[in-house]
């Protein structure tokens, strides 16, 4: 509208001696007089004195609300079933909380360890690992962590699983000694009284609440149950490690197992913790100054049992269980993946890895994703190109034939849409395989020797053929809808002006059909780049797409983080290509009919 009016005004301004012409120009410019009330400057007022804009807004508000109400069901549906899962997947591609959730203390103490050095982490790290892992193995979560870390360093999965089985052994070393000396250590009630508050003794409820939070992070479930145990403050000072271990045991027993804490014999880990506490420097003084529940038994244990404790450390225990715990690489991986968020999945998705020394390329034999991305892009472009070449003439014919014939042809074009995708793909298998119809005909015609039948399926060729066929309607329909709107008079005009039929087509018809080509190309390319079923069925090893790999990680290897990262990269590539397309062709030039 503004462009039209400007031409009208310019015409009026131009010095045209012809009166008649001037008259026609003013005729066209006549309706461009400024609207009432805008000439004075300041906001335009409605009849009641309110600014026109506001009263217009008020008038439109009801309609807007109504429109919103109409789209609300779909909007909610899309948000819940589409946007939210995508956001969740994007989040998973960087999320890495499983390491710090499962091994909170270990990752905290491991932070100061220098992974570049030649030394294993200090004893404190092994100690922390023991208690972290003990709780995790009770909750059967240590294998999940093993699986997660195994994506980064092969062998960690079995390391965690085998170690998880034998954690009890270490605690039993001390449990046996203690119980040999005094059977009271077997008593669940004794432990409960010693570790917990009775009456008006000061307690440490925050200790048990911390364990509750930790259990929530570990299991991923909300823990709202009653624990029925409050750690005593006094004993916590004398036996800090034991207090922690017992609180962990109490929380787990009450919340996960649903047992009464006072009736359960503590875990082996609690005995290991007690042993650590008793052998700590200054333990003797602390116990001497303690007069709460179990003070006598502790004193006795200190004097009689401790000297009989086996001389061993956490570190020795772990190294004895599995020598892989002495591997700097394993510890480097755990440290590298300690943070809650990691670029690791994305690095993996482009054939890089995060090692202790920073980012580096993966070994030659494990690099597949960059190749797959390239292949996916290349094949999608080839499919798009063949769709244009095959679809353009058909669309041209469709839009220029009489209605009756073109409707019939349109049904033929749409027929593939109404056939199951699996049926169509399988049909291509039948046609293209080495003992298939096409090869048989070629052999029969003598074009191909019987012992040299063409390999046309389970490779790139097969994927391109089948997908071109499947995606062809997505090219033809937008092309058709654009071509339908090009009046035949344009080509006629070109011919009447002296252009040959080819020139008329190329210079006049083709440029006007470009929006259809653009729309078809975007549609086909974006569909092709994420296609899954057909490459899976006919792609073999050389014709698979990145989407097949994503599906593999989603459903087989269960490495959702990597699948999410691959998907995110694919999404980003599509968006970037879309942007480039917009820069070159202009998205306004796309018509979907």
């Amino acid at each position: 509208m503004s462009k039209l009016s400007s031409t009208g005004e310019q015409t009026a301004d131009a010095p045209t001696p012809e009166d008649a012409f001037h008259e026609s120009a003013t005729l066209e410019g006549r309706d461009k007089e400024p609207p009432h009330g805008s000439g004075e400057g300041g906001p335009v007022l409605a009849a009641d004195g309110t600014p026109l804009k506001r009263s217009l807004q008020r008038a439109l508000r009801r309609e807007k609300l109504r429109a919103l109400g109409l789209i609300a069901p779909l909007l909610i549906f899309v948000l819940v079933t589409f946007i939210a899962p995508i956001a969740d997947m994007l989040f998973r591609s960087v999320e890495n909380q499983i390491v710090s959730d499962t091994l909170p203390e270990t990752t905290a103490t491991l932070q100061s360890w220098d992974s570049a050095g030649d030394d294993l982490p200090p004893e404190a790290v092994f100690e922390a690992l023991y208690y972290d892992l003990f709780l995790a193995s009770e909750a059967k979560r240590h294998t999940r962590l093993g699986t997660r870390l195994n994506y980064e360093e092969t062998g960690l999965s079995s390391l965690f699983r085998s170690t998880g089985r034998s954690l009890d052994d270490y605690g039993e070393l001390f449990q046996d000694v203690l119980e040999d000396h005094d059977e009271i250590w077997e008593s669940a009630g004794f432990w409960y009284e010693m570790m917990g508050t009775t009456g008006d003794e000061p307690g440490q409820p925050e200790l048990i609440e911390a364990q509750r939070d930790r259990l929530e992070a570990l299991t991923g479930e909300r823990q709202t149950g009653e624990i029925g145990f409050v750690p005593a403050a006094a004993i916590g000072e004398v036996l800090p490690r034991t207090a922690d271990a017992y609180a962990a045991f109490a929380a787990y027993a009450a919340l996960e197992d649903g047992d009464t804490v006072a009736e359960e014999e503590p875990w082996e880990a609690v005995f290991a913790a007690l042993a650590s506490d008793l052998r700590r420097d200054g333990a003797a003084e602390a116990i001497a100054g303690y007069d709460g529940d179990g003070a006598e038994e502790l004193q006795a244990a200190l004097e009689q049992a401790v000297p009989e404790f086996p001389e061993t450390t956490y570190r020795e225990f772990f190294l004895e269980e599995d020598e892989d715990w002495g591997s700097l690489d394993a510890w480097g991986t755990i440290q590298a993946y300690s943070p809650s968020f990691t670029p690791g999945y994305f690095l993996n998705a482009v054939d890089l890895e995060l090692t202790a020394d920073g980012v580096s390329a993966k070994p030659e034999g494990q690099q597949i994703y960059v190749l797959l991305f390239q292949r996916t892009l290349f094949m999608s472009l080839v499919i798009m190109g063949s769709c244009v070449l095959l679809g353009y003439p058909v669309a041209y014919l469709l839009s220029n034939l009489p209605m009756r014939v073109s409707n019939l042809l349109m049904i033929l074009v749409l027929l593939p849409f109404w056939t199951s995708l699996l049926v169509r793909t399988s049909a291509w298998k039948v046609l293209l395989q080495q003992q298939g119809v096409i090869n048989d005909i070629l052999v029969w015609l003598g074009l191909v020797a019987d012992d040299a039948r063409l390999v046309m399926i389970n490779n790139q060729f097969g994927t391109i053929v089948a997908m071109t066929h499947i995606l062809l309607p997505f090219m033809i329909l937008p092309l058709y809808s654009v071509m339908k709107t090009i009046p035949p008079s344009y080509v006629r005009a070109a011919k009447s002006l002296g252009a040959t039929p080819w020139t008329s087509f190329w210079r006049v018809y083709f440029p006007q059909s470009i929006p259809g080509i653009g729309a078809g190309c975007i549609l086909v390319f974006i569909l092709a780049i994420g296609y899954y079923i057909t490459p899976e069925l006919v792609g073999g090893t050389t014709g698979t797409f990145i989407s097949n790999r994503i599906a593999y990680h989603i459903s087989s290897s269960l490495n959702w983080g990597l699948a999410a990262a691959l998907g995110t990269i694919l999404l980003a590539v599509v968006l970037i290509l879309y942007w480039v397309y917009d820069k070159i062709v202009g998205i306004d030039n796309v018509s979907l009919g």
């Binding site: 462009k3 012409f21 008079s489 006629r492 011919k495 009447s496 002006l497």
Partner: protein, 366 residues
């Protein structure tokens, strides 16, 4: 058929027939000769075959039978792009992806004209339609009238001797259309080109053309200059299609040389000029133009027959008065009178006698 045109005919249709479906003829036995420099209009209702004739001439339709000649050469089998005929389409068909200048340069480009020559011709053509400043615009940025000018310039820029126009003014509003009629006629006269113009608007046909071919039912009903067409229609279709017309039904009761007496259905008798009635006893449709009806007895010849009439409605239209009368039992008899100082305004219900000069009243086929 105008005999003067046929020997030096520039465009000739010779016994041309056209059928699309093999069952009905859209164009039946068309014979038409168009002289060089002539402005000929094909006028007719839609479906009368006029556009088909134009398309056959342009080469977009092939004649089923007969010969079409241009400059004495048969062009039936020459493809459209080799005919060198300029054409203006109904919706202008300006190429939307090219600027105005590129549109105009297109026919020159496909003729391999040099760039400087092209620019010069484009400029001249744009100046001719007073659109010199618009070369860089896109067609979508122009108003309807401006697009019309560009389409005209494009059809003329490669100096075609014959230009076809297919209802080129159909999409314009009334005032602009009238102005463009004048302008097209002006340019055609100046350049001396032959124009075949198709329209269903009779005013357009009358004001622009040297000759008008009135089409109906696949046939030319009458081919004549505008004044002749209006004043001496040869049959009832032409009489009713061109201009406003009062018709009365009757029977020829007396033939007297160039006069025929017709007894109307209600028994009244009038004088007419027999045009295509054969003799006494024929049913006839009598045609009389509203502006030729007279109700002032003094202005009629002494021996003229008169009819009784009753005024039903009086409409003031500015330059004229339009009065609806009941005449010979019909309620739609119109009389137009000029709005002049001495003109009487009739009042509804008034009874009067009307008449006309016998030569203004034509007895046509029923």
């Amino acid at each position: 058929m105008d005999a003067s045109a046929s020997d030096g005919a520039f465009v000739e249709f010779d016994r041309v027939q056209k059928s699309y479906d093999g069952e009905t003829l859209v164009v039946k036995d068309l014979n038409l000769a168009i002289g060089k420099g002539e402005f000929l209009t094909m006028l007719g209702p839609s479906g009368s075959g006029k556009t088909t004739c134009l398309m056959m001439l342009a080469g977009f339709e092939t004649a089923t039978h007969g010969e079409i000649r241009l400059g004495g050469k048969e062009i039936n089998n020459i493809p459209p792009h080799k005919r060198g005929i300029g054409m203006v389409f109904q919706n202008y068909a300006l190429f939307p992806h090219m600027t105005v200048a590129e549109n105009l340069a297109f026919p020159l480009e496909v003729r391999n004209m040099s760039k400087s020559e092209r620019e010069q011709k484009v400029k001249r053509a744009l100046d001719m339609v007073q659109m010199g400043d618009f070369g860089g615009r896109r067609p979508a940025q122009l108003s309807g009238g401006q697009q019309q000018r560009i389409a005209l310039a494009r059809a003329l820029v490669f100096e075609a001797e014959l230009v076809l126009m297919d209802e080129p003014l159909g999409a314009l509003d009334k005032q602009l259309r009238e102005h463009m009629q004048f302008e097209i006629k002006h340019i055609a006269d100046n350049l001396g080109i032959t124009v075949v113009y198709v329209t269903h608007d009779q005013t357009e046909a009358l004001t622009m053309s040297d000759r008008v071919a009135v089409f109906n039912d696949g046939k030319i009903q009458q081919l004549a200059p505008p004044d002749e067409l209006y004043e001496s229609p040869e049959n009832s279709f032409v009489a009713q299609f061109i201009g406003e017309n009062n018709t009365l039904m009757g029977k020829v009761t007396k033939m007297n040389g160039d006069r025929a007496e017709v007894t109307l259905d209600d028994g009244e008798v009038i004088d007419t000029v027999p045009v295509n009635v054969n003799g006494v006893g024929d049913r006839t449709l009598v045609s009389i133009r509203p502006e030729r009806v007279e109700f002032n007895r003094d202005r009629l010849p002494a021996d003229a027959h008169t009819l009784k009439a009753e005024v039903l409605e009086f409409i003031y239209m500015g330059d004229i008065y339009r009065t609806r009368l009941r005449v010979a039992g019909k309620d739609d008899f119109i009389v137009k009178t000029r709005n002049a100082p001495d003109q009487r305004r009739l009042t509804p219900g008034e009874k009067l006698e009307i008449g006309w000069r016998p030569e203004d009243c034509r007895a046509l086929d029923a």
